[in-house]
């Protein structure tokens, strides 16, 4: 019963599969079995948020899920944000323009957490953004530019919709 299990799922729009022990953490499965190393493990106890991915359309911390729980699920990771021709997602572009990353280690988790919040509230105030991104720890930026970037990215996303 601790024997390897098969996992079939959709990742960044593509069908993928793998096989691993039930105890293998989802973050490790994404990074090793799927070869998508953009999602990072910063703490392995669900606090820092660097491992945040979209799980069936909602942000979740992949270091405290088992890979087997993702069988049949749809995942979106940082690698799936830009368009296929390489054009950056408006939020990635906003992070770039506002210097919202330094070492880049928390950035994938930060992008996903920000985009997740915008699904619930596309027109956030600065305070709402601040609270939303407090789900992810950043040690480099002091958060100030991230807040600016999320505000700017949200505006671009809204404008694109209308």
């Amino acid at each position: 019963m601790s024997a390897p299990v098969d996992i079939r799922l959709t990742v960044n729009g593509q069908p993928r599969e793998g096989r691993c022990e039930p105890r293998k953490l989802l973050v490790d499965f994404i990074r090793e079995d799927l070869g998508l190393t953009g999602t990072h493990a910063g703490c392995e106890h669900g606090v820092c948020g660097a491992c945040t991915i979209f799980y069936n359309g909602e942000a979740a911390r992949s270091c405290i899920m088992f890979a087997v729980q993702a069988d049949g699920a749809e995942l979106l990771t940082v690698e799936g944000l830009a368009e296929s021709d390489g054009k950056l997602h408006p939020m990635q572009q906003a992070f770039h323009e506002h210097h919202a990353l330094q070492c880049g280690f928390c950035t994938p988790g930060m992008l996903i957490a920000a985009l997740d919040y915008l699904k619930i509230n596309p027109t956030p105030t600065e305070d709402e953004i601040r609270e939303a991104i407090s789900a992810v720890l950043c040690r480099c930026t002091g958060y100030i530019n991230i807040i600016k970037a999320v505000k700017a990215g949200a505006e671009v996303m809204r404008a694109a919709k209308s």
């Binding site: 022990e21 105890r23 293998k24 990074r31 998508l36 190393t37 953009g38 999602t39 990072h40 493990a41 910063g42 703490c43 392995e44 106890h45 606090v47 820092c48 660097a50 990771t77 940082v78 690698e79 944000l81 830009a82 950056l88 990635q92 992070f95 770039h96 323009e97 210097h99 990353l101 330094q102 070492c103 880049g104 280690f105 928390c106 950035t107 994938p108 992008l111 953004i129 601040r130 609270e131 991104i133 407090s134 789900a135 720890l137 950043c138 040690r139 480099c140 930026t141 002091g142 958060y143 100030i144 530019n145 991230i146 807040i147």
Partner: protein, 787 residues
């Protein structure tokens, strides 16, 4: 060389961003090597104990385990670790009275364990899961010894000794002085004495450490990838341990997820992993997890100061005496570097004619204490900025006023402070306007008078607002050296390599800007190689706010020589004198003659050895120079931090109402990146005073072993920051730049502590130890009723 203009000074967006934003960065955990093995450690559960036995038989037999080694095994297999600690130059040693004892940490503990988490055995397996399974099967017999968890207790007569052969826990001591502080204190009209404790906290980058190594039997060489700030230092020690020439050992860092100093020295794992890779004939990698990071990387601060200040009725400081103890932990990888920084930065921006600073470094059964953003300066600034506020309170003066009365003025620059820096050179503040910066900050925060009115009104309504100042000066760009190679690539692009090791500072962009300006090329035509011993033979690394300063100077000098040579060859080709030439548009051309030019690509070709080259006789081949810049001494950045806090006296919660920083780091290469450094550092300083704490219990057990306990500030905890900039160029390097990496973290503890004390002045409370937690505030308020 060209003056700064063009790109230096512009907020260019970073070339690093694209890969980091799209998940295409490559951190140590992302490295894939065929047949790579993975490492877990067996770690001590006790803080201080003799190792009686380590039984790895079950571990070695566990599924997937390739190797299990104990400290005793390693003693037979490896020479002792060489003592290549950052040593202080002989010039310093001749000025400063000192004693040091430097026990070298073995790669695995074999006789004793000296802190909880110290590694006693290593397990190598097919994956980390099974390595941890193996580690869980190790049996370690330890004989408990009394744990020492307090620096003063460590130095007491009957203390349990951590390094038996030393017969003392005093790992180091030094004393530095100017004038006669003892006498001046006796003569002073007023004296104040206080104890200040700056607690233990840590860098806590979001990426932990990691080392991978690959042995190549064909060339008998080793490649080491390490998430480190000091690739050349790692390479040097690894070569010594492995018995290989440095030419056969390469160390490089990939993308590094934050360092802040904790990745700034050589760790046992940096040496053990390459050894294992060679022994096993397969690549080996260790990734530190967060629990390990808290248990056994490095912590910082943890200094206890006894300060005495003598002053007159006008608040002019006459003398300062500071005796301080550094809780060094079980080992001392950085030596006197951090403790001496404290002494060197104690006087800060103030004129103090009589000073004595004496330090003792005590071993305890805790994780080693090494550099973390500020590296000894926050502790000095906390003591000085707190006591100057106390001087003000004693005399009924505004803290800002007392500071202004004591500050070195702009027209007094350069100013000899009277004691040496840790490079042995006399401290000379080179340029700057300290009073100007302070006044700028206070004005930007709304002015002191207006604040006092606001504060008074708030108190009527039972609200407690406080204004605090923290001012620091910072020696940056320290030697001994940094190197740069500049080469004109056959493509015409300008290639530079330097020993600087980035962890998020944006160095690829900064150096591209500097080189693009110097060579009149597009930054896209600059190729930058960092953090790789294969790219440049000697390097120092990125610590101590030094890389922009030292690398840019090395790049500048090397570029000068290459340019000279390029002009000589171009002159030959264009049949003119070198003096008639200028750099333009990615090439070299005759001044005033638009058509007469030759591209850098062609010049590279002309410079080649062999047939049909275009070099004048006597000029050897190639367009490449390596220069090692040895800074004359450090150059001095500074900043005033001013903060307004709102203290809830019922719960002790501190909200930051306004935060202003007036900052000077000389010529600014990229304003956007400079502000990023200031913001990040300030956030860490805020975390340090209000939230972060490494706590050990009386038995040396770590109480804060996860990020649920060690409280890194979230976005909710960090206020908006208003930043103002002055630019006092440095006279000490070609670009006029000063370092900026650490400063932000230096002032906030002092500024916020001062603000809290100001807010609670009706209660007459003082906070001279950190962190300042809500419970401590509540306790202080409860014990002192308003008067």
């Amino acid at each position: 060389m060209s003056e700064t203009g063009g790109l230096v000074g512009r907020s260019l967006l970073r070339r690093e961003d694209r890969r980091l934003l799209t998940g295409a960065g490559q951190f140590i955990a992302d490295l894939e090597l065929p047949r790579m093995l993975h490492v877990a450690f067996v770690r001590s559960q006790l803080a201080h104990a003799r190792i009686r036995s380590v039984d790895l038989s079950r571990a070695a037999a566990a599924p997937g385990v390739a190797l299990a080694l104990s400290g005793a095994d390693l003693l037979r297999l490896l020479p002792p670790v060489p003592d290549t600690q950052l040593s202080l130059p002989s010039k310093w040693r001749s000025f400063v009275q000192h004693e040091f004892r430097n026990p070298q940490q073995p790669l695995l503990a074999h006789d004793k364990v000296r802190h909880v988490g110290e590694a006693v055995a290593v397990i190598v397996a097919e994956d980390r899961y099974r390595a941890e399974d193996g580690a869980a099967l190790a049996t370690v017999e330890l004989e408990t010894l009394p744990a020492v968890v307090d620096a003063e207790a460590a130095l007491a007569a009957n203390a349990s000794i951590i390094h038996d052969e030393l017969e003392t826990n005093l790992l180091g001591a030094f004393s530095v002085a100017k004038g006669n502080a003892g006498f001046a204190l006796e003569q002073a009209p007023h004296r104040l004495q206080r104890r200040f404790y700056h607690h233990r906290y840590a860098a806590m980058p979001i990426e932990c450490r990691g080392v991978a190594a690959l042995y190549d039997p064909r060339t008998d060489s080793v490649t080491i990838w390490s998430a480190t700030q000091v690739v050349h230092w790692v390479r040097r020690e690894a070569a010594a341990i492995l018995g290989l020439p440095e030419a056969r050992v390469r160390c490089l860092a990939l993308d590094v997820g934050g360092g802040f100093g904790v990745k700034g020295h050589v760790y046992p794992e940096d040496l053990l992993i390459p050894f294992l890779a060679r022994r096993l004939g397969r690549p080996v990698r260790w990734l530190e997890d967060r629990h390990e990071h808290l248990l056994c990387s490095a912590h910082s601060r943890d200094q206890l100061h006894e300060v005495e200040i003598g002053f007159d009725n006008d608040g002019r400081i006459l003398a300062l005496k500071d005796e301080y103890i550094v809780d060094c932990g079980a080992w001392n990888p950085i030596g006197a570097g951090v403790p001496y920084n404290t002494a060197a930065h104690l006087c800060g921006p103030y004129k103090i004619d009589h000073l004595t600073a004496s330090c003792r470094t005590a071993a305890t059964n805790k994780v080693p204490n090494s550099a973390y953003r500020g590296a000894g300066r926050p502790e000095a600034v906390f003591a000085m900025e707190r006591i100057i506020d106390l001087v003000a309170a004693k005399l009924g003066l505004e803290p800002a006023e007392v500071r202004l009365r004591n500050m070195i003025r702009a027209d007094e620059m350069p100013y000899r402070a009277g004691i040496p820096y840790r490079d042995g050179e006399p401290i000379v503040y080179d340029s700057g306007d300290y009073p100007g910066a302070l006044q700028q900050a206070l004005q930007a925060i709304g002015g002191v008078d207006a604040f006092r009115r606001r504060q008074g009104e708030a108190r009527q309504r039972g609200r407690y607002l406080g204004l605090g100042i923290g001012f620091y000066v910072e020696g940056t760009g320290v030697g001994p050296f940094e190197g740069a190679t500049v080469r004109i690539d056959p493509s015409g692009k300008v290639y530079i390599a330097t020993g600087a090791c980035p962890q998020g500072q944006g160095m690829e962009t900064i150096f591209a800007q500097i080189v693009a300006d110097a060579w009149k090329v597009s930054p896209d035509d600059v190729v930058v190689s960092l953090a790789d011993t294969a790219a440049i033979p000697m390097g120092f690394g990125t610590v101590a706010s030094r890389s922009t300063v030292t690398a840019s100077a090395a790049i500048h000098r090397a570029s000068e020589r290459v340019r000279e040579k390029a002009f000589t060859i171009a002159a030959n080709v264009l049949e003119c004198a070198p003096a008639d030439l200028e750099l333009r548009d990615g090439g070299v051309g005759v001044v005033g003659v638009p058509g007469a030019a030759v591209s850098l690509a062609r010049l590279a070709q002309h410079a080649r050895p062999g047939w049909d080259h275009a070099r004048p006789s006597g000029v050897n081949a190639g367009l490449e120079e390596t220069h090692y810049w040895e800074p004359p001494t450090v150059t001095w950045s500074y900043a005033a931090h001013a903060v307004i806090v709102d203290v809830d006296v019922e719960t002790g919660h501190v909200a930051i109402d306004k935060y202003v920083i007036a900052h000077d780091c000389g010529v600014v290469v990229n304003p956007l990146l400079v502000e990023g450094q200031i913001a990040g550092g300030t956030a860490q300083g805020i975390g340090g005073i209000l939230l972060e704490e490494i706590a050990y219990d009386a038995d040396g057990q770590l109480l804060t072993g996860s990020l649920a306990d060690y409280l890194v500030p979230t976005a909710d905890d960090i206020p908006e920051m208003r930043m103002l900039h002055q630019h006092s160029p440095s006279p000490l390097n070609p670009l006029g730049v000063k370092g900026v990496g650490e400063g932000g973290a230096v002032a906030p503890p002092a500024a916020i502590a001062n603000a809290i004390c100001d807010a609670l002045s009706p209660f007459g409370v003082e906070f001279n130890t950190t962190p300042i937690t809500p419970e401590r505030i509540r306790q202080a308020v409860r014990l002192n009723q308003p008067h």
